[in-house]
């Protein structure tokens, strides 16, 4: 256990420093959110209609930013060899790496998402639901994104490849979360969308590490 908690500490510290860490991710997120009113005009009614949707899509894009280095750096400097040579199964090691990634970037984004949405004109009553969606969605993005990052190990311009692999897999959580938010916005039942989003996140957490470990073993061999 001390082995895995040491790994979580290392991964969180590395993700915090990686490419500027949460500040750059949050800056990117704030930047995208600021561009929206500039693109579609300042009329508050039009903005309010799309506010939650834009906050949600920007969250998915911001989660992509630091994925590239999740496995790549450990692969290049030989640390992945040592992480694989351990009594801890590589699947668990990969899961802990994704969790560290989420703590350093996904969790700060989940705090920023409701603020950005309300800033764009969404109703403040939606803030708790946006936060819940961003927590579940962020976990799904981190674990699905980890699969893409592991699959693109060793490829030149792996970051671009990661985005291309991962974006189609981001479709279901974007639909579920966006559906829940727009339903809640129009006073309809939103529970089903949030439940599906949480189910997708649970599946990504359960199955993603299997794919990540297989992809890492393949890259090392």
């Amino acid at each position: 256990m001390s082995r895995l908690s040491a790994l979580l500490g290392r991964e969180t510290a590395l993700a915090w420093g990686r490419g500027g860490g949460p500040l750059v991710t949050l800056g990117f997120y704030a930047g995208v959110a600021t561009l929206v009113p500039l693109a579609i005009g300042p009329q508050s009614q039009r903005l309010a209609a799309v506010a939650t949707g834009f906050a949600w899509v920007a969250l998915a894009l911001a989660s992509l930013l630091s994925l590239e280095r999740l496995f790549e750096r450990d692969f290049e400097d030989g640390a992945l060899d040592l992480l694989a040579l351990s009594p801890a199964p590589l699947e668990l090691t990969c899961a802990v790496k994704c969790l560290g990634q989420w703590i350093a970037t996904g969790a700060p984004l989940a705090l920023a998402a409701p603020i950005a949405a309300v800033g764009l004109g969404a109703s403040p009553a939606l803030m708790p639901l946006i936060f819940a969606c961003a927590i579940a969605g962020g976990l799904a993005f981190a674990f699905v994104g980890g699969v893409g990052a592991a699959l693109s190990l060793g490829a030149r311009r792996g970051g671009l490849l990661t985005a291309v692999i991962v974006l189609p897999l981001f479709t279901p959580p974007v639909i579920f979360g966006g559906g829940a938010l727009s339903a809640a916005d129009s006073g309809l039942p939103w529970q089903a969308g949030l439940a599906l989003l949480a189910a997708y996140a649970a599946a990504a957490i359960a199955l993603g590490p299997l794919a990540m470990a297989a992809a890492c073993r393949n890259a090392l061999a």
């Binding site: 040491a6 500490g9 290392r10 750096r73 060899d81 992480l83 040579l85 009594p87 061999a221």
Partner: protein, 199 residues
């Protein structure tokens, strides 16, 4: 606890090319073996195959007293030329993490740092260490978390003459405790050792 290592008729193929074939070796507790051969002969691939990271084309690897899975999980150390140390983290953060990861403790990491005279360097970022200091930091893991089989890839290359002698003493101590060492080298090991040549 691994008490012997035997390779029988081992072949490894990388990228469509056979690196070596029908390689055999018997290594008992307290023995060291120097792995020699020209660049590209497959020394690193052999060490990685022993660690289970590279698939074996044919032949058998047996760890006496241990099944391959637990031998690779907690019975061997692999120190390659890529040391896995992150340039932006301090030497102490890295040594402490790898010690814990390999099943050692923070106190053992501290003691290993003393054994390799890294005490004064622990507060520095890894990027500020010289090549020899970095190698000593990587080798400190061997002392911090004792494991019977050491697979070393050019462990001496960046070390100065004094540290080659000192690391020779550390290796001799490991062998005296029943350990095994297989080291890919270009210069002779500073301890009595068998030789396995890859053509």
């Amino acid at each position: 606890m691994i008490n012997s290592l035997s390779l029988r008729d081992l072949s490894v193929r990388r990228g469509g090319r056979v690196l070596f074939e029908a390689l055999s070796l018997e290594l008992g507790a307290g023995q060291a073996c120097a792995l020699i051969g020209p660049n590209g002969a497959g020394k690193t691939s052999l060490l990685r195959a022993l660690a289970g990271l590279v698939p074996v084309e044919a032949g058998e690897i047996a760890f006496g007293g241990s099944d391959p899975e637990s031998a690779r999980g907690g019975g061997l150390h692999l120190v390659g030329h890529q040391d896995g140390l992150k340039p932006a983290r301090t030497a102490w953060e890295e040594l402490r993490f790898w010690s814990l990861w390999c099943g050692g403790s923070a106190e053992a990491a501290r003691a290993a740092a003393e054994a390799l005279q890294l005490g004064a360097l622990l507060g520095f970022e890894v990027r500020r260490l010289s090549a020899g200091q970095r190698r000593r930091l990587a080798l400190a893991r061997l002392v911090a978390a004792p494991r019977p089989l050491w697979l070393l890839d050019e462990p001496l290359a960046p070390l100065d003459a004094g540290w080659r002698t000192r690391f020779g003493e550390i290796m001799a101590g490991h062998l005296a405790g029943g350990g095994l060492i297989l080291a890919a080298v270009h210069d002779p090991l500073p301890i009595p050792a068998k030789t396995l040549e890859l053509a």
